[in-house]
């Protein structure tokens, strides 16, 4: 019994490690008076160690804790994605949280808790674990969204995110309830074995649909997207960055695990629903983004659109598109963290100054930042040789192979629309004169390093896409 527990804990080492790390950081914060440096360094080093652990347990493919969690393989890959996002977030946020007055240890605790939740969410083979992981991811995020408590926008964003998030949780668990009732189990693998028998049950399909609502809410797909712009705009910028990359990655990883990899809803009605969600997200996200004046809000609509692209991969199904979606997640994570990071550098201390007009003349003031942001914008459009191009490419290829050519066409057309608003940022940065109120970017050494890592990642993945693709394709 004890040996079994120990083996299982070792096989799920990244998650166990994150739990221990978050407890250590909470204790450090509780035991000492003045905040900052220690928590930051302990969190960062701990996350890096956990990335190492995730690589270490990669070969241990299987399940642990009586089939509740997945170990190794897919779980390791997703864990590395989330941990990288967390590490880059806290590095980019080092100076930022000081600027906006959220510089207390709890910021790091909450980021660590969220990361733990993401990893469990994406590795849960029992819907029970999926659910608890989802909540462990969401609840600290509600707080992070409003961590600058005296800022009106931030508290409003927190309230909206909380109310709508809890609302969607209700649908999610109701779906699980109906699935449990029809199958008598919550273990995903057991359900997957008899999936053909179950999918003729109307209540089972209703349950799956309700779960899909919960997932669609978390990834921010239309028509469950209404929280995304408000929350991304209102929350502290680096929190929005973490939401748009980490949370989206976690939700998509779990969606892949539950729906594509195991339930295999190919050619079922659920698939049509996902396709509709995907088209709606691409169209509405890209078109509304055209008229946005605020950079964060624009990125919010862009993230809705990108959720649409990734949903194409979910619709197509099969190993190729899973690899494509994972690739897309890595590319999008690096790009978007960088873009939000630059916005956080030039932001004012009262969390204003992220309008697109505030980027005017950035090239004159900080040429390096402007060039890097340009790289990110091109990657978001999906131009070669940047990472975003291959993300879209693999997903579109997988869709065409599975007979979803029309989805690909919609995807390409909406990508063309998106060129306008991404390029507008580039034009404003490079060709428009500075405004009267010049904001100096503040980022510090860690921020510069993290930004360099993100930019280098975007370029390297763009030039050598096969490295990442081989890595994720090895899973299937």
């Amino acid at each position: 019994m004890m040996e079994q527990l120990l083996t299982d804990s070792l096989n799920t080492a990244p998650i166990t490690g994150m739990v221990i790390l978050s407890l250590i950081v909470v204790m450090i914060n509780a035991l000492k008076k003045e905040p900052l440096a220690t928590e930051y360094w302990v969190s960062l080093v701990g996350i890096v160690i956990n990335i190492g652990l995730a690589v270490w347990v990669f070969p241990e493919r299987g399940t642990a804790f009586s089939g509740s969690v997945m170990t190794g393989g897919y779980a390791s890959v997703t864990a590395i994605i989330f941990l990288t996002a967390a590490a880059l977030t806290i590095m980019l946020a080092r100076v930022y949280i000081d600027k906006i007055g959220a510089n207390f240890g709890e910021f790091f605790h909450l980021i660590l808790f969220v990361t733990t939740g993401m990893m469990s969410f994406a590795a849960g083979l029992d819907l029970l674990v999926t659910f608890v992981g989802l909540e462990l991811m969401s609840i600290p995020l509600y707080v992070l969204a409003g961590i600058t408590r005296r800022n009106l926008k931030a508290t409003e964003a927190a309230l909206k995110y909380f109310l709508l998030g809890a609302f969607s949780t209700g649908f999610f668990v109701y779906g699980i309830g109906l699935i449990y009732g029809m199958t008598g189990t919550t273990k995903i693998l057991d359900i997957a074995q008899n999936i053909n028998a179950y999918s003729s049950e109307p209540l089972f399909m209703v349950g799956a649909g309700l779960m899909l609502v919960g997932f669609a809410f978390k990834v921010g797909a239309v028509p469950f997207h209404m929280w995304v712009p408000d929350v991304y705009e209102g929350s502290p910028t680096m929190v929005s960055a973490f939401m748009s990359t980490g949370v989206k990655a976690a939700a998509f990883s779990a969606l892949l695990l539950v729906f594509t990899a195991t339930f295999d809803f190919m050619h079922s009605s659920i698939n049509t629903v996902v396709a509709v969600l995907s088209v709606a997200s691409m169209v509405i996200g890209n078109i509304v983004a055209l008229s946005q004046k605020n950079f964060k809000r624009m990125l919010a609509y862009s993230s809705i659109a990108h959720a649409g692209y990734m949903l194409i991969g979910i619709t197509a199904g099969g190993g190729v598109s899973i690899a494509g979606v994972l690739f897309y997640l890595v590319a999008y994570m690096l790009t978007n963290l960088g873009a939000f990071g630059i916005a956080s550098f030039i932001e004012n201390s009262d969390q204003t100054g992220t309008d697109i007009d505030d980027f005017r003349g950035l090239y004159q003031r900080h040429p390096a930042l402007a060039v890097i942001l340009g790289v990110f914008m091109f990657s978001l459009i999906g131009l070669p040789p940047f990472a975003g191009f291959f993300g879209k490419y693999y997903i579109f290829v997988a869709a065409i192979e599975n007979g979803y050519t029309w989805l690909t066409i919609v995807g390409v057309i909406t990508s063309m629309i998106s060129v306008y608003y991404y390029l507008r940022v580039v034009v404003v940065m490079f060709f428009q004169p500075e405004g009267e109120q010049v904001q100096t970017a503040r980022f510090g050494r860690e921020g510069a390093f993290a930004l360099a890592v993100a930019a280098a990642g975007v370029l390297l993945i763009g030039v050598f896409p096969s490295v990442v693709l081989d890595w994720v394709s090895a899973l299937f």
Partner: protein, 173 residues
């Protein structure tokens, strides 16, 4: 009608009525009280399903802790009545009501007239129902088969404590 059915119908009526009253009362405290009544009715329903441990925990956690917290906050903020629902009804509200009614009809149809499916095999409670509701059985399963989500929940509660303090503490840097 069997006595079980009568008990069920009474509890169900209390549950539904208190739910409807909960969402229509303008005063938040009245709403909270009807919600507590609803929780009591649910606890009764759990007893009819032989889930005694769930029933008592329902009262202990929901009625005894969560709702006290909600009432505490309502009183602390000294919230006033919302304007009556009738006066603030807009098209959007009627729309949502319509959608909800439609969903209800759909669900009732799926559940009620879905003959031949798995549901048809569930005419009666399982003979195991009495055994699985006890504290002993639930405890042993919780700490063996479901130990992982259990430990994860403890982290979740810690995160919630940290989060609540961050948001609500008065003097904070």
């Amino acid at each position: 009608m069997s006595s079980e059915l009568i008990v069920f119908l009474i509890l169900a009526a209390v549950g539904v009525l208190s739910g409807i009253l909960m969402i229509t009362r303008p005063n938040p405290v009245n709403s909270a009280l009807f919600l507590i009544l609803n929780f009591m009715a649910l606890a009764g329903l759990y007893i009819t399903l032989h889930a005694q441990f769930v029933a008592i925990i329902q009262i202990l956690v929901y009625a005894g802790a969560i709702m006290v917290l909600v009432l505490f906050v309502i009183m602390l903020l000294n919230l006033e009545d919302e304007e009556p629902l009738r006066e603030q009804m807009s098209k959007r509200h009627y729309g949502s009501l319509l959608v909800a009614l439609l969903a209800l009809v759909l669900i009732v149809q799926v559940i009620g007239w879905n003959s031949g499916g798995t549901l048809e095999t569930m005419r009666e409670q399982s003979p195991h129902a009495l055994r699985i509701g006890t504290v002993e059985h639930i405890g042993s399963v919780l700490f063996t088969e479901h130990v992982y989500p259990f430990e994860l929940t403890s982290i979740l509660l810690l995160a919630a404590i940290v989060g609540a303090i961050v948001m609500a503490k008065k003097r904070f840097p």
